[in-house]
């Protein structure tokens, strides 16, 4: 029932035939199940390899295009706006600003999460506007997050880091 439309009921013809788990298990519905085993190992390539190696060292690396002047993260070997190779690599700070966020309550199978996950896009300090990393926030209550909040990366320990985006465990408020 739609919010704010409490006096409206579904017309009878739209009800359909409800199906239960039991109907499916007892074979009342004809179906074939398959669970394909398909695996990939994507070559990270020049730009992302260097980025991942940087994460392993606890650094966020970006690239610079001297034509448009943008500092881009995650890095790439070419500037997609100027269509030319990038000019320089730069180390960026591991701090940034929450550009947008969502407090997410259910998992991909639509089951409730034990604790909500705060997903955010973080504009990295030192990179050009709208250049950032999508990651998660923690050590903050959902009701305290706001757009424009300054945050800092919380890294795994040096021994735990493996050259993956998850080498950053999460981001937390810079103050407090």
């Amino acid at each position: 029932m739609a919010v704010g439309k409490k006096d409206i009921e579904c017309p009878p013809y739209a009800e359909g035939t409800p199906l239960s788990d039991e109907d499916i298990k007892s074979g009342k519905v004809t179906y074939v199940e398959d669970h394909p085993d398909i695996r990939y190992s994507w070559t990270a390539g020049q730009a992302i390899s260097r980025f991942l190696n940087g994460l392993k060292e606890g650094k966020i690396l970006g690239v610079k295009c001297n034509k448009c002047g943008r500092i881009m993260v995650p890095p790439r070997m070419f500037c997609e706006l100027c269509f030319k190779p990038i000019d320089d690599w730069v180390e960026l700070k591991d701090t940034g600003t929450v550009q947008t966020f969502s407090i997410s309550y259910i998992d991909p199978d639509a089951r409730p999460l034990p604790e909500p996950i705060i997903v955010a896009v973080i504009a990295i300090d030192g990179a050009s506007p709208n250049m950032g990393i999508m990651h998660i926030l923690d050590e903050v209550k959902p009701e305290d997050v706001y757009i424009g909040m300054k945050v800092k990366a919380v890294w795994k320990s040096e021994e735990e880091r493996e050259g993956a985006i998850t080498d950053i465990k999460y981001w937390k408020p810079l103050e407090g």
Binding site: I38, G45, Q46, F83
Partner: protein, 380 residues
């Protein structure tokens, strides 16, 4: 009229551990734009890429293509098929007046796929084909091969000769990782992995990318003195059912008829100078030569043995080395074939350059377990 005004490629290699698929696309695209003398950010009106999500390991793969093609905030679409379908799409966009310059791209990063057999199986009907037995699905090609050999009275040697020709042709192609100076004895001694199909009759996977720049006649004449014309395009699908298909490459026959009609070709044997056809399984080359009407139904094996389709023969087929020499490039297969045709027509094929060629045909199949394909006729 629509012309090819620029070509570029990256690869072809058995593996590309140093570059991501985005980086091989950038390399091929940059070469194609440089060849055409254009700036994609300013000059290209539309971008067409050809990709299959399951080969890439990404859903909605078209979302991932603009950056490395110079297509950000430009009209871009992905055709879920071989490169030659992309050529047909670009052809229609130009002929309809929607665009003057169109870039077409296809690539293979097959080395990123860990379970290729299961990827092929994923294309089989899940209800009554996919889970019958646990053999590697290359047997699908062997089933078709065995029936075709029976219907055309072919010996195992007849099929093996395709491998000998193509792998040796590939020795003159620096971009053919599976080139080899094999003999008929070598191929005959190759293990039968899917009896009657031998291991060497199966094109191994390869990585690479092909980008073409197509332009309207008016724009092409401004850009280049040596345009290669897209004279005809065709595509055709039979049926998805592996148990009901013709097993005689009807898709290639019909696609070629469509392309020949557009190109004004009435007698392909006389009017086509050379061809690059899909040979991802050796017998497929014979089937496709026949379907493209480049030889009579029962003549292919005899002509092959006589050297008619050799580099110095009357009608060279797969001078580049074909898929058996270059590798299975997935959706870029037709791209490699079209690339070879264009290089030959421009006189830029190096040591394997054919003399006096004016019309060439490129053909690609949609691979196992499909009964679909496309054909493009190019000419100068």
């Amino acid at each position: 009229m629509v012309a090819v005004v620029g070509v570029g490629y990256s690869g072809f290699d058995a593996n590309t551990p140093d570059l991501s698929w985005k980086e091989i696309m950038y390399e091929a695209a940059l070469r194609a734009y440089t060849d055409a003398g254009i700036n994609p950010r300013r000059d290209v009106d539309s971008f067409v890429t050809c990709a299959e999500d399951i080969y890439e390991g990404f859903a909605i793969f078209d979302e991932f293509v603009p950056d490395q093609l110079g297509a950000v905030v430009k009209p871009t679409c992905t055709v879920c098929a071989d490169f030659l379908y992309g050529i047909a799409t670009a052809y229609m966009q130009i002929r309809s007046g929607l665009a003057d310059i169109v870039a077409v791209e296809a690539h293979s990063k097959a080395s990123d796929i860990q379970t290729f057999g299961n990827v092929v199986k994923f294309a089989m009907d899940p209800i009554w084909l996919r889970n019958v037995g646990n053999a590697h699905p290359y047997y699908l090609a062997a089933l078709e091969m065995f029936q075709y050999m029976g219907e055309r009275c072919l010996s195992e040697e007849d099929v093996a000769r395709v491998v000998v020709k193509n792998k040796n042709n590939a020795l003159l192609n620096a971009s053919a990782p599976y080139a080899a100076n094999v003999t008929l004895d070598d191929v005959m001694a190759s293990p039968k992995l899917f009896d009657p199909m031998k291991k060497m009759e199966i094109a191994p996977l390869a990585d690479g990318c092909v980008v073409f720049v197509l332009a309207s006649e008016e724009v092409a004449k401004e850009l280049t003195d040596t345009p290669v014309w897209v004279k005809g395009v065709g595509w055709w699908s039979e049926t998805y059912g592996y148990d009901t298909a013709s097993f005689s490459a009807m898709y290639a026959y019909k696609a070629a008829k469509m392309a020949y009609k557009m190109a004004g070709i009435t007698n392909p044997v006389k009017e086509v100078d050379f061809a690059e056809v899909d040979d991802r399984f050796a017998f497929k080359e014979m089937q496709h030569i026949e379907a493209l009407q480049l030889a009579g139904k029962f003549e292919v094996a005899r002509l092959m043995a006589e050297g008619y389709f050799d580099r110095d023969g009357a009608l060279p087929v797969n001078v580049s080395g074909g898929n058996l020499g270059v590798g299975n490039l997935l959706e870029a297969t037709g791209g490699q074939k079209a690339l070879e045709v264009v290089l030959q027509l421009r006189g830029e094929a190096g040591k394997r350059q054919l003399s006096d060629v004016k019309v060439g045909v490129a053909q690609a199949w949609r691979y196992l377990p499909a009964n679909s394909g496309a054909v493009a006729v190019f000419g100068v």
